[in-house]
Amino acid sequence: MKKAFPILGVLTALFLAYAFYQALWVAPTEQTMGNVQRIFYYHVPSAIIGFMLFFINFGASIFYLIKRNPAADMVALVTAEVGVVFLTVNLVTGPIWARPVWGIWWTWDMRLTSTLVLWLIYVSYLFLRRFSSSGETPLLAAALAVLGALCVPFVYFSIWFFRTQHPQPVMGGGGSIDPRMLHVLLINWLAFSCFAFLVCWARYRLEQLQREVDTAYAMESLRDPRRSA
């Protein structure tokens, strides 16, 4: 960990710089939207990575409910936190892009609304973890995460009925995207995935140390008079 982390950090930074260069200079300018379309290389990867992290959170939570493995709980916590950050990036870049292109900051269409609801769900998950006074917070959080993941299909179906203003996803075919743009998108997605992994790793390590400190502190309580004597 001590050696691998800085090396991976430098590699990721280089990769991100390369992806940045690709997004701003190499990728072709979109015909109608112009340069503002380049935010696409940040908007889309952040959403995909956010969803990926929430998916891992779901898996880790199920695993925790069955096995009561503390590492699974830490993975769930970390992926939810980092996932919320990435989804926030997505929700912030969305309006910045929408304003010049659609002429509005926000529209209550399917994809925007469902992303917002998902963001709200995981923020409330983090709230529960923060506010819990239980000694079994991981269990409560895991139960909530399962409900949150089950909410996702309902969120999509319930918002499905609204007409959508949002372009179809470029990944699943159907969209007519320049292959060079797709290439840059993939590079950015990979670079940010590496970055997300690195942040999760650091946060996981931090949480692990925090818990060790908490346990040590609790077990060797400073209030114990026989220790201070």
Partner: protein
């Protein structure tokens, strides 16, 4: 040991009896709902023709607030004197308690809705263009969704600091698909449009969340 359904029954009867004696929850909920209806009438001009378009939303937001008050009240009674612990040390199955609480809250909130609906009709001059039985069905399914989730999240917020604020923080986001379906269905029926999609969606939501809450309730109740 008594059958789980028997325990559900006596627990529900006990809750109703306690409510009948103290009338805390029902009185405060009734007055609160009346206030919500009046405040809404001040905020959204009820004489306007457009009010029918938003009436579905108004009704459900009012019900949602009332349900939160009701849910906090029913658990507050179990917290006082830590009576919930007496249930937890007994061999009675936790899910019997869950179902009893859900049914109890369902009754409270339904009574409330039955009393608030005439007020809404009066103030907003509502007249359903679609079939009224569908409205009743949507009300029942929607209330069930709120009450199942609410009872579960209320049990969860027992284990947090600032319990009463935690309930809406959990309930609102997790119920949003159900809320969208309720509001859309109500508005559609009021305007004489089809609401089958929403009713099916709501019923599925109820089924899935009731099942999962039953599976997880014991874990949450004992997570001290």
């Amino acid at each position: 040991m008594s059958a789980p359904t028997g325990i559900t029954r006596v627990t529900l009867l006990k809750d109703l009896r306690l409510e009948w004696r103290s009338k805390d929850a029902i009185n405060s909920m009734l007055f609160f709902s009346l206030l919500v209806v009046v405040v809404f009438a001040f905020s959204f001009d009820p004489t306007a023709e457009e009010s029918r378009q938003i009436a579905g939303g108004l009704v459900w937001v009012a019900f949602l607030f009332a349900a939160v008050v009701a849910l906090n009240q029913t658990w507050a009674r179990e917290i006082r004197n830590q009576v919930l612990d007496a249930y937890r040390v007994s061999p009675a199955p936790p899910n019997s308690l869950f179902i009893a609480k859900v049914l109890g809250n369902f009754i409270f909130v339904s009574v409330l809705e039955a009393l608030m609906t005439p007020l809404f009709i009066m103030f907003y001059r509502l007249r359903a263009l679609g079939p009224a039985w569908q409205l009743a069905l949507v009300a029942a399914l929607g209330t069930w969704a709120l009450v199942v989730n609410g009872t579960f999240f209320a049990a969860m917020s027992l284990r947090t600091r600032s319990r009463e604020i935690m309930l809406p923080l959990l309930l609102f986001p997790f119920s949003s698909p159900a809320l969208i379906a309720m509001v859309q269905a109500t508005t559609a029926i009021l305007n004489g449009e089809g609401a089958h999609f929403w009713i099916v969606l709501l019923a599925t939501y109820d089924l899935v969340f009731t099942t999962v809450c039953l599976l997880l309730f014991e874990t949450v109740l004992n997570a001290e």
